[in-house]
């Protein structure tokens, strides 16, 4: 028996829509669940006051700072390094054995569980280099962790820029660097920013790699060599040690709102940027 195309078409639409809807539902469920659980403790005071009694009461201000500073440090280090590497791989070398090895290595690196990066950071940055449990150790570890993501997404973005743009630029007497600067990078920017946003999201919610390297001090840090605690680590400790479930969910709610707003702002900025160019 043959099923008429109009029925298979309808069937396909239903299945595709159901899949999409399911994903949205899962996301909505998680967000709503966390927000409802954490809602009771959410207040301005919760955000701007320091935790008391290990976090049993009081707010989460130092962990907000920790969650802001670590990803920023990680991106400040890994962003330029990753983008420049991808420009080199994409624009300045031809496909050789070495570029293939580099690409393979970055792929392997991005598949390594974050706790391994945590262990590496502990051994290398905390102990060997003597940075101790500190913002610097944590930021460097996160930078190493997100570097492969930034390199690979930037590379994809650069490759997606039509070859004809480069040819045109060269044909008008542009050097390679000028072509990269004026034509290739601006057109790859949306993709590069997406990769960087992904990396910020990953580092802001990272726990394993951070707890081993930045420590879990609840004091407000005053230098790069101070230990700090991020919201994710705070949540982990509060929940695991059974200190305070309410405050744990409150922290999680703030974290989730932060990540969602960062994504929304990035999305909105990108759209404006793209609209302006075309």
């Amino acid at each position: 028996m043959r099923i008429l195309p109009k029925y298979t078409q309808r069937g396909a639409v239903v299945i595709l829509m159901a899949a999409t809807l399911f994903i949205l539902l899962v996301l909505a469920f998680i967000v709503i669940f966390i927000l409802m659980k954490g809602f009771s403790v959410l207040s301005l005071n919760f955000l701007i006051s320091s935790p008391e009694d290990m976090g049993r009461s009081g707010g989460i201000f130092p962990t907000l700072i920790g969650s802001a500073i670590l990803p920023i440090l990680a991106i400040v280090i890994a962003g330029p390094l990753g983008v420049l590497t991808s420009v080199y791989l994409c624009e300045y070398t031809r496909e050789t054995r070495i570029t293939k090895i580099i690409r393979f290595a970055t792929d392997c690196l991005s598949g390594i569980p974050s706790i391994i990066f945590g262990l590496f950071g502990f051994i290398f940055f905390v102990e060997t280099l003597g940075f101790g449990w500190s913002i610097l150790s944590g930021g460097l570890t996160l930078a190493v962790m997100v570097l492969p993501t930034i390199i690979r997404t930037s590379e994809e973005a650069l490759r997606a820029v039509p070859q004809s743009y480069r040819e045109v630029s060269f044909s008008l007497g542009a050097s390679r660097w000028h072509t990269v600067k004026k034509v290739v990078l601006p057109n790859a920017l949306p993709g590069i920013v997406t990769g960087i946003m992904l990396s910020i999201g990953r580092s802001i919610s990272e726990t394993a790699a951070v707890i081993f390297t930045a420590g879990s001090s609840l004091r407000l840090p005053t230098s790069l060599f101070d230990s700090t605690r991020t919201m994710a680590v705070h949540f982990y400790i509060l929940a695991r040690e059974g200190i305070s479930n309410e405050n744990a969910y409150g922290t999680a709610a703030v974290l989730i709102i932060a990540v969602l707003s960062i994504n929304l702002i990035a999305y909105w900025t990108m759209n404006r940027f793209i609209a302006k160019r075309s």
Binding site: R94, S164, Y165, S171, L172, G173, A174, R277
Partner: protein, 254 residues
């Protein structure tokens, strides 16, 4: 007509990419201030030859030349040649209209800015001049800030021509510039070329033999990597010396 001046001298030129040979031992001259039409079936080496004249081939790995190309007496492949300066003097319009994803204005001044001209009055003037020469000014003068990608295919191609003209080159290479265009856009480009040859040397690769007959002063016929015949357009189209040329023009193959 100053057809006596020789712009390019092609000497024993062969072009290879990896193991394959795209051009076989070509020898001929290209006069200044004329339009040379290059015709021939696809795969005959026309485009490869054209792209050799401003060293675009070398952007792709594997390309290699034998023989020489002299421009105004200088070997353009000699180590002393500055390839960036060469490309400023020998502009190219590609087969597919390829505006850069920026405004019309920025497209036109892209190459000019590279040469260090930043005076906005000078740039404005260059934009108007070049767009006028490429028969596009009247259509876009009120919307120079519009993205070049928003123009129609025919307008885009004239924008690409303007972009080259703004550089004040000596030579303009055109690689089937009208292959994707409607007849009206095509005739506008042809009109522009007829005006331009007073000041520039133009080399036009075309799949459309009628176009070569309409606009070029001299015509060269390429076949399977060989330059079969070159001569005055009238002669090539009425009494070609070689049988292959005659067969191609009369449509027996290709």
């Amino acid at each position: 007509m100053s057809g006596m001046n020789i712009k390019f001298k092609i000497e024993n030129l062969s072009i290879f990419c990896n193991k394959e040979q795209y051009l076989k031992n070509a020898n001929f001259d290209i006069s200044a201030n004329e339009i040379l039409g290059i015709i021939g079936p696809s795969g005959s080496g026309k485009t490869t030859f054209l792209r050799a004249l401003n060293r675009m081939n070398e952007l792709h790995p594997g390309f290699r030349n034998e023989g020489r190309i002299l421009m105004d007496g200088n070997d353009i492949y000699s180590p002393d040649t500055d390839v960036i300066e060469l490309r400023k003097k020998v502009g190219i319009v590609f087969a597919m209209p390829a505006p850069l994803p920026m405004s019309i204005y920025e497209n036109v001044v892209y190459g000019v800015r590279l040469s260090g001209i930043h005076d906005s009055q000078k740039l404005d003037q260059l934009v108007e001049e070049s767009l006028t020469e490429s028969y596009l000014w009247n259509e876009v003068k009120d919307r120079l800030k519009l993205s070049g990608l928003r123009l129609s295919g025919g307008q885009q191609q004239r924008l690409c021509l303007a972009r080259v003209l703004a550089m004040k080159p000596d030579v303009i290479l055109l690689d089937e510039p009208c292959s994707g265009l409607d007849p009206i856009s095509t005739s506008k480009i042809e009109d522009a070329l007829n005006e331009l040859k007073k000041n520039y040397t133009i080399i036009l690769v075309t799949n459309n033999t009628k176009q070569a007959a309409r606009v070029s002063d001299k015509t060269a016929f390429f076949l399977m990597g060989e330059m079969i015949e070159i001569g005055d357009t009238k002669k090539i189209f009425t009494s070609p010396l070689k049988k292959e040329t005659d067969d191609y023009i009369t449509g027996k193959f290709g």
